[in-house]
């Protein structure tokens, strides 16, 4: 039994393979949450609800196309239906994982296409409690990720991942993400500020099977400090529709094709 240690390793090996690192969990979660399918379309209804229960509604069609593998470049196209004063407005994002996005906006009132500055991915998306990053993803490399523990959320077995920004300029201290072990969707996310105060809470409220892909079709982001929350419903979610790359252009920003934005 000279080689007893080989047997030891052989016994331990399956465990080593099965356990994911924090970064692997978050990569798989990003792929499951923000990258499934070659492309994606949904009618997004956002309700901005204040502490007193007053509602504002933002409604848009969101189209997304992956330009490569999960974690790679993506293009987004949005067409706004509501509120009335932004109806027909369109918005386009070229998202790159390692650098700032390119963003364009079409202002129908004066028929003008404008490029807009976009260095702050942590800023609010259309006034909601979601940031641009919450909608289209945060770079995995921006944080260090550790699997803190595993626990159940309802009847779902989850990894609990703690993510801490590597840079000092971040506006939050750390966050915990509850990632479903079965489908890798984020079920809950708790964001803490730099003083360690829990100030934002995300929850995936309903998950549906769309073309065999588990999809979060209702979600909420709540600001615990202001009591303001945003509830989002993804209606008519669909994948692999064959959205052409040419859609993501100034031509269609000015004249969004009806077949894609209904």
């Amino acid at each position: 039994m000279k080689n007893w240690w080989i047997w030891m390793i052989a016994v331990l090996l399956p465990l080593q393979v099965l356990a994911f690192s924090g970064e692997e969990v978050m990569k798989k979660s990003q792929a499951a949450f923000l990258y499934p399918g070659k492309d994606f379309k949904a009618r997004v209804v956002m309700k901005l609800i204040n502490r007193d229960g007053q509602e504002r509604v933002r409604e848009m069609t969101m189209l997304r196309k992956n330009m490569g593998e999960a974690g790679g470049d993506q293009k987004y196209f949005m067409y706004f239906f509501r509120p009335a004063d932004v109806k027909d407005m369109t918005f386009m994002i070229y998202k790159y994982p390692a650098k700032d996005d390119d963003r364009w906006m079409f202002i129908p009132a004066i028929n003008m296409v404008k490029r807009i500055a976009a260095q702050d991915k942590r800023s609010s998306f259309v006034g909601s409690d979601f940031t641009y990053e919450d909608v289209s993803g945060r770079d995995i490399e921006d944080d260090s990720h550790v699997v803190e523990r595993e626990e159940k959320v309802g009847n779902r077995d989850c990894y609990v991942v703690k993510s801490t920004p590597k840079g000092v300029d971040s506006d939050f201290g750390y966050k915990f993400t509850w990632v479903d072990k079965a489908n890798f969707l984020p079920i809950n996310e708790a964001q803490y500020d730099k003083k360690g105060v829990h100030y934002k809470q995300f929850s995936a409220d309903e998950i549906a099977d769309v073309k065999g892909i588990p999809t979060v079709i209702r979600r909420t982001m709540k600001n615990l400090q202001t009591g303001h929350r945003t509830e989002v419903a993804y209606l008519k979610s669909d994948y692999d529709l064959g959205i052409e790359e040419s859609l993501f252009s100034e031509r269609f920003l000015r004249q969004p094709p009806r077949k894609w934005i209904d």
Binding site: R56, P83, I110
Partner: protein, 406 residues
């Protein structure tokens, strides 16, 4: 009459039975602008006072689309109702080409209230009288053809009839007039149309575009029948050709915009006819950043230079204001959102270092609900009495806009 005919022609061109998807929307609004310095030349105290309703019809079937947008307004200053055909066109979208036929608003170029390659008609009066931004642009009756091959995207605009920009009305606005005693005045509109072309594409992550225009100046020039004892003034629109380019993209943390154009004045190539604008070069550099969440800052530097300055100086009649060879203007815009982007503060300021001309437009806009918004703002002008903004110094106003959209 012409409007009505155009409107119904547009309607008839699309078989009504085929209209699968039709949406109707619109708004009603109240718009008031109070004078804060002086009453209007006609003695009224408001720059603008009207109620307005707009109906917009948008219908789509397959590759066809019809859009019609018409206004009804009651103008208290003119004491009359008026209808306005804002836009009305049909679109056909082909594979890598499309067309739009009818009255349409077109905006090219990158400037923020500075126009280098946007040679389409505007309503300057609307801007200075505190009307909502969309009224800054006037539609053109044109055929627009788009072609989108791999190489680049092309847009060609052919307008059979020239449409001028709306300049401030002399009954409402105090304006510089070098010959105030001449009351006999007429305006001659060009009998021809005009043509614009834009080619654009991505170059290494930057949006690059080339522009070409053949037509006329959108704002009129004035020519007296006699320099020493004028009895009649003719307003006319000199010929104009524009060759321009623009580039925009991310630089550092913001977006850089560059624009340049050559304004060729065929009616005065030598530069010795003072009634016709000299040929010009126009240059614009703009930079926009988002320093913190919900705040946007924009800066622009804009320059104009005359090509035949010597000839201009030599032939300008005595007593006429003298423009400098170079005109340098800087502008800045701050936009900040509050309360989940339902409250917006915006301040635009423009200063011309060559003649002291300035214009400031602060505005606060609030969405009371998803359907009702209101804005309060001011237009403040100053500078030399003949400058673009200086001549408007007595026209400072505070405005209110309230709109219900459906």
């Amino acid at each position: 009459m012409l409007r009505t005919v155009t409107f119904f022609t547009v309607l008839l061109l699309v078989p009504p039975a085929a209209l699968a998807e039709v949406t109707l929307s619109g708004f009603i609004q109240q718009n008031t602008a109070f004078n804060t310095v002086a009453a209007n030349p006609d003695g009224r105290h408001y720059k603008w006072l009207e109620e307005r309703a707009q109906i917009k019809l948008d219908a789509t079937e397959g590759d066809w689309r019809l859009l019609a947008k018409g206004d009804l307004a009651y103008d208290h200053l003119g004491r009359q109702g008026a209808s306005e055909f804002r836009e009305g066109y049909i679109d056909y979208t082909g594979g890598n080409w499309d067309l739009r036929l009818g009255r349409q608003v077109i905006t090219w170029g990158l400037g923020d209230l500075v126009f280098v390659n946007d040679f389409f008609p505007k309503d300057h009066q609307a801007l200075f009288a505190g009307r909502p931004l969309e009224y800054l642009k006037r539609g053109v009756d044109a055929l627009k053809l788009g072609a989108y091959p791999e190489l680049a995207s092309f847009e060609l605009v052919l307008a059979p009839n020239f449409r001028e920009s709306q300049i401030p009305d002399a009954n409402r606005f105090w304006l510089y007039d070098p010959m105030p005693t001449v009351v006999n005045r007429e305006t001659v509109i060009p009998g021809q149309g005009d043509l614009g072309l834009r080619a654009y594409r991505d170059i290494a992550g930057y949006d690059a575009a080339l522009y070409l225009y053949r037509g006329f100046q959108r704002t009129p020039s004035m020519r007296p029948d006699n320099m020493t004892a004028p009895t009649r003034i003719t307003y006319f629109y000199p010929k104009l050709a524009i060759y321009g380019a623009s580039l925009s993209g991310r630089v550092g943390d913001g977006v850089l915009s560059l624009e340049a154009s050559y304004y060729d004045s065929p009616d005065d190539r030598a530069g010795n006819d003072f009634t016709v604008p000299n040929s010009q070069t126009r240059l614009l550099a703009g930079y926009q950043i988002q320093p913190v969440e919900d705040v946007s800052l924009g800066f622009q530097y804009y320059a104009e230079t005359m090509h035949n300055y010597g000839a201009y100086l030599a032939t300008l009649p005595v007593g006429f204001p003298v423009d400098k060879r170079w005109s340098h203007t800087v502008t800045t815009r701050l936009t900040q959102f509050f309360q989940h982007q339902t409250l917006r503060l915006s301040v635009y300021a423009s200063y011309n270092a060559s003649n002291g001309d300035h214009f400031v437009n602060p505005e606060l806009r609030y969405s009371f609900t998803d359907k009702v918004w209101g804005a309060i703002g001011a237009n403040l002008f100053g500078g030399k009495p003949w400058g673009q903004f200086g001549q408007l110094a007595r026209n400072d106003n505070v405005y209110l806009q309230v709109r219900y959209e459906f």
